[in-house]
């Protein structure tokens, strides 16, 4: 089949699904809507597989499909096409998106079956998939930006899906506006590149990337990539713009799984990986990315420890894991970043869906303090969730282990790395192990704290099948990127498939040398050991000895409160940025518009009025006064004549 046709179908099917479900949203049942929505994504998934197979058949250096539907904007030197670029990176990305997306659609059929607006829901989901595909496949930064904003829009609509709840609508709004801040930075980044390179085509930009590193802070590439990274902090929820993601959990849980864990939030990472030659050329930007990534890891993980909402924990975990991806990007390990993106997509989608299944079983309850002991009610959910848990805490052999460990190693070993980054990463990993174990303990293990009136029940098959698939992927997903030192001891296993696959398009950091295996083993052992300790600690605290944790939190109550209130970052933002802006605006309106500009015009009017009433007072109706004016006029006229 022709590539153009495949790509057309790839795009058309979610778009059609969106339109059909959107227009006929009141006219068919939930199952039909779900079927249409899922089928649309499934078709896209098939197309993605076809494209991937086609790429396989090509020579490694020429693995690319470029489809151009025509020109979008062509003014002067600005030439932007409806062009889509499929190569090793984007083909894998769309496989993840459509694959995980399809599973989540499937899950949604069961999860949303009781909701009134289910057709609307599926139309939004399809709309999201469409935009995500545009984002990933777009061949220029502008097309990428189209998808970038489009997914933000879909996210806005889906977070505020239950809009009758004002808080949920506000969360959607917050997500969109915070994303917009990032988007504004992204726009500026685009402008910088367009003005200095004369193009916005990603491939051309990559080929124009300077080979000499830019050491200044105000170099074009450094500034441009910094602004692009600013965009990524918005979309991928990094410091300082991560605040929207936890609130975004207001949306339906499958949405959180799809958009706010597996796909959309990784767009920033994808973008950086996509533009890796540019980012490599800007060491300062890389440093910023690495530092912000590492700090996000620790900050979000620490907040995650004290959250009681099952989805909030997962949300902070997502922020934290995204931090790892940025850390990887920042130290130049783009392949590893993508690797973690992929494994994270599997296990985090799995855990979100698992939490969805829990919430479904608990009839909407999200507070983990009111759960516990759900293992016996939800056995399958528990089993699959455990796979995700094992993956995320980095149990050797599970997918998360391989990707996270490689990130930690690279952050230590890469020439752009630093031991401090490694330390932060390991602290993050330790905390991750702790709070995820805490989540497991409070939700599935230990004593049941479920309200008597509630009868938790296992979810239907349509919801469990995606869980199984994702669980399987979380377990085996890591084997595409086994680190060298491990593959060496596994006879017959080819070394790091992913790295090999990406080798033609992803540059490595200059100066990267082979590391000392002993060192790598040592660091790996250290991080695994620390994670293990914290896992055991958490298990001890939350299952064996629940009173100890209470005493402990009592003792450090101020700190605990601070952490559970998310370090008051939201309040700080509102107090120091949002509210002052609103107050400023009110004052601007009241003082500049109403009191000043309008007053000025009134003054002008009053001046006219005043002079009018003065002249009017001259017309006092008295004949003699009038005669006097004549006389004065005469005198003045005569004097003027005399003066001459």
């Amino acid at each position: 089949m022709d590539h153009t046709a495949i790509v057309s179908v790839l795009f058309a099917s979610p778009l059609l699904g969106f339109l059909i479900n959107g227009i006929r949203r009141n006219h068919h049942s939930a199952n039909v809507a779900g079927a249409i929505g899922s089928l649309a994504v499934f078709i896209s998934f098939v197309c993605s597989i076809l494209l991937w197979i086609d790429l396989q058949g090509m020579a490694p250096d020429a693995r690319r499909i470029h489809v151009v539907y025509g020109s979008w904007m062509a003014i002067e030197s600005l030439k932007i096409d409806f062009g889509f670029w499929i190569d090793q990176l984007s083909s894998l990305m769309i496989l993840i998106i459509t694959g995980v997306g399809f599973l989540i659609h499937l899950f949604s059929v069961g999860y949303m079956s009781h909701d009134k607006g289910v057709a609307k829901y599926f139309s939004y989901l399809n709309f999201f998939i469409f935009n995500m595909l545009v984002l990933v496949l777009g061949d220029s930064l502008v097309t990428l930006f189209v998808g970038w904003e489009g997914v933000g829009l879909a996210s806005y609509l889906l977070i505020g899906f239950w809009f009758t709840d004002g808080e949920k609508a506000a969360a959607g709004m917050k997500a969109f506006i915070v994303n917009r801040i990032g988007d504004a930075a992204f726009l500026i980044g685009m402008f910088i590149f367009f003005v200095s390179f004369g193009t916005l085509n990603i491939q051309e930009l990559n080929s124009m990337a300077p080979t000499i590193m830019e050491s200044t802070w105000f170099g074009i590439v450094t500034l441009g990539t910094l602004f692009l990274f600013g965009g990524a902090t918005g979309k991928s929820a990094q410091i300082p713009l991560y605040i929207w993601l936890p609130d975004a959990m207001a949306g339906p849980t499958p949405v959180s799984a799809l958009i706010h864990a597996a796909t959309m939030v990784t767009a920033g990472v994808y973008m950086i990986v996509r533009l890796n030659p540019l980012f490599i050329a800007a060491p300062n930007t890389m440093m910023v990315i690495a530092v912000i990534g590492a700090l996000t890891v620790v900050l979000a993980a620490s907040i995650g420890i004290a959250q009681n909402d099952i989805k909030k924990v997962l949300a902070y975990s997502t922020v934290s894991q995204l931090g790892y991806m940025f850390l990887a990007c920042g130290v130049g390990a783009f392949t590893t970043a993508f690797f973690h993106l992929m494994t994270h997509a599997f296990f985090k989608a799995l855990m979100f869906l698992g939490s969805g299944s829990v919430i479904h079983g608990m009839e909407g309850e999200q507070d983990i303090r009111k759960m516990g002991g759900l293992k016996k009610y939800l056995p399958w959910t528990h089993l699959t969730f455990m796979m995700g848990w094992l993956a995320i805490i980095g149990t050797p052999g599970f997918s998360g282990f391989f990707s996270k460990d490689e990130i930690l190693w690279m952050s230590f070993h890469s020439p752009r790395g630093h031991w401090a980054l490694w330390v932060l990463g390991v602290i993050g990993a330790t905390m991750t192990a702790f709070y995820m174990t805490r989540l497991m303990c409070l939700t599935f293990w230990g004593k049941s704290r479920v309200a008597k009136t509630l009868h938790p029940h296992e979810s239907p098959a349509t919801m469990l099948i995606p869980l199984f698939v994702l669980a399987a992927l979380s377990v085996v997903g890591g084997y595409v990127g086994i680190p060298h030192i491990i593959s060496e001891i596994l006879p017959g296993h080819p070394a790091n498939i992913l790295e090999h696959w990406f080798q033609p398009i992803i540059k490595t950091v200059p100066g990267l040398v082979a590391g000392d295996p002993a060192m790598e083993w040592g660091l790996m052992g250290a991080s695994v050991a620390l994670a293990l300790i914290s896992t055991i600690l958490a298990y001890q605290l939350y299952v064996k000895n629940p009173s100890a944790i209470e005493r402990f939190t009592q003792k450090i109550n101020p700190i605990y409160q601070l952490v559970s209130k998310k370090y008051l970052v939201d309040e700080l933002y509102f107090g120091f940025i949002v509210n002052p802006i609103v107050r400023l605006s009110e004052n601007l309106w009241a003082y500049i518009d109403v009191r000043f500009i309008d007053k000025c015009t009134y003054w002008a009017g009053d001046l006219m009025k005043g002079s009018g009433s003065f002249v009017r007072s001259l017309q006092n109706g008295n004949l003699q006064t009038y005669a006097m004016y004549i006389g004065i006029g005469l005198v003045v006229a005569l004097s003027l004549v005399m003066m001459r």
Binding site: I75, G150, G160, F163, A169, M173
Partner: protein
């Protein structure tokens, strides 16, 4: 004769309506007229040649020999789309006024058609005096529209509107007359033809404010700045919009504001190139301030219509910045943004009008939860909102992107400040949407005695063309940009001594 017909057809319509015997059939008749006018406007697509920058379809007759005042019409790529926008909006506006205008229908339609004539004349006139006549003529029907069919404080609003715009344009009249004397000095005979004005070389001394070109430049620029409206002169706009009836608001936002920005391109830039370049920073600065200020103030408005009015200030700021940055991208972007703003803000005002017809309130705090009461309305409102906040693949994105890109190319700082408008734009629109459409049902929405009725067929028919245009313009900007390309290119290339030739003339 196409242009004359285009301009004066509405006058004919107005006369017919004035004499029409039955009051009940005035609405359909007027609607039919406006559709006919729109279809007639489409003939321009055939007659107009987009590949050349010349002045086309010229009509030139002597009007007052003694002063060289001519009846001189012409069209080029810069005015082409604005004409189309004007005739495109007319039937939709009339349809939107179907229910909302219920007193003195005859008078309203006469006013409306005369307004059409005035606006088209402003866009097409190439003689300074003729232009001035049309420019001022446009005030009068608008004055009546707000003054007769407007809201509670309409007299205040009309006065403010009239005085602001009038004060500005009087300065322009003085400048026009002065320039006519300059033509007499330069060519021996007096002329008010714009093409003759273009040929003048007016002395310019940069650092002196009281040099001739600077003074003339400011006289013109100020008149147009009031109309745009540029930041400190904008306060008439919110009041006029709030008090104006829906059709008045749509015309005001859709077309009349564009008269100001269009005239910058037609009059100020080519006539006073040095002064424009020297003083551009003021306008860019005011434009940027307008973008941010308009957005900030819009954010805290309690009235939906006022919010949209302030958003106009913000959007028009982009256009001004784009014009004064003066490069190809930004100019094309500005032209495009003029159309966008006409479409999206026009649609927003129509939508707000529809809401007002149902609830007779525009206070944001009285609403809430409207999305579940009026689902179809909500869909349309959100599409238009997304166009207004420049989500890609809608028309707004193309315009803002081009302007910002062009601006960054010339003055990076201006672009960086303007970009905050993108964020703030999303903030005020979505915050308003959140308060109006989402959350608990507000007192007006939950009122059981007056259940809200979703859009009827007529209202959907009004909105669908807007939505179609939003997406067509967002997806295929080239189709639109092509028609202004040659003229903009010519304007950029011949910046220092801009002269237009008449098509076919040697």
């Amino acid at each position: 004769m196409i242009l004359s017909t285009l301009i004066f057809l509405p006058v004919l319509f107005a006369i017919v309506i004035a004499l029409w015997p039955q009051k009940s059939t005035i609405r359909p008749i007027a609607l039919g007229f406006s559709i006919a006018h729109f279809i007639f406007g489409l003939t321009l697509f055939r007659e107009f040649d987009p590949n050349i920058a010349d002045l086309q379809l010229v009509e030139k007759y002597m009007w007052m020999e003694r002063f060289g005042i001519q009846y001189f019409l012409g069209i080029d790529g810069i005015s082409f789309w604005l004409i189309q926008l004007t005739v495109f909006l007319a039937p939709l506006i009339l349809l939107a006024s179907w229910k909302s205008i219920d007193k003195n229908i005859r008078g309203f339609h006469i006013c409306f058609f005369i307004l059409q004539t005035a606006m088209l004349g402003t866009f097409l006139a190439f003689d300074a005096i003729l232009f001035y006549v049309f420019w001022e003529l446009s005030l009068i029907p608008m004055y009546f529209m707000i003054g007769i069919w407007g809201g509670a404080r309409r007299i205040y609003a009309t006065l403010k509107f009239f005085i602001f715009t009038m004060a500005g344009s009087l300065l322009m009249l003085v400048a026009i007359i002065y320039m006519m004397f300059l033509t007499q000095q330069a060519f021996g005979t007096m002329s008010s033809s714009l093409l003759d004005f273009y040929k003048l070389s007016i002395p310019f001394i940069g650092h002196e404010f009281f040099s001739m070109q600077t003074l003339l430049f400011f006289a013109f620029a100020l008149a147009f700045a009031v109309k745009v409206p540029l930041f400190p002169l904008h306060t008439w706009l919110p009041d006029a919009h709030v008090e104006a009836p829906t059709p008045g608001s749509v015309v005001l936002a859709g077309v009349m504001l564009k008269m100001g920005t269009y005239c910058y391109l037609r009059w100020v830039l080519p006539l006073f190139p040095e002064a424009t370049e020297y003083w551009a920073w003021i306008f860019i600065m005011l434009g940027v301030i307008g973008i941010i200020y308009g957005a900030l103030v819009a954010m805290v408005q309690p009235d939906i219509k006022k919010l949209v009015a302030y958003s106009s200030v913000s959007h028009m700021g982009y256009i001004i910045v784009g014009i004064f940055v003066f490069n190809h991208l930004s100019l094309q972007g500005s032209l495009y943004q003029m159309l966008n703003h006409g479409i999206s803000t026009g649609a927003l005002f129509i939508l707000i009008g529809m809401l007002y017809e149902r609830t007779h309130s525009r206070e944001i705090k009285h609403y809430g939860g409207l999305a579940s009461a009026l689902p179809i309305y909500t869909i349309f409102f959100f599409i238009v909102t997304f166009s207004s906040i420049a989500v890609p693949l809608t028309n707004g994105f193309v315009g803002e992107f081009l302007i910002l890109l062009g601006t960054y190319k010339a003055i990076p700082m201006a672009a960086i400040f303007s970009v905050t408008g993108v964020v703030l734009g999303a903030a005020y629109m979505l915050w308003m949407c959140k308060r109006v459409f989402f959350g608990e049902k507000g007192p007006l929405v939950a009122d059981a005695h007056h259940p809200l009725v979703d859009l009827n067929a007529r209202e959907i028919v009004i909105l669908v063309p807007f939505v179609i245009m939003i997406f067509i313009m967002g997806l295929f900007p080239n189709v639109f940009l092509k028609w202004s390309e040659a003229s903009v290119d010519y304007l950029i290339k011949n910046k220092a001594n801009y002269e237009l030739t008449i098509k076919g003339a040697k």
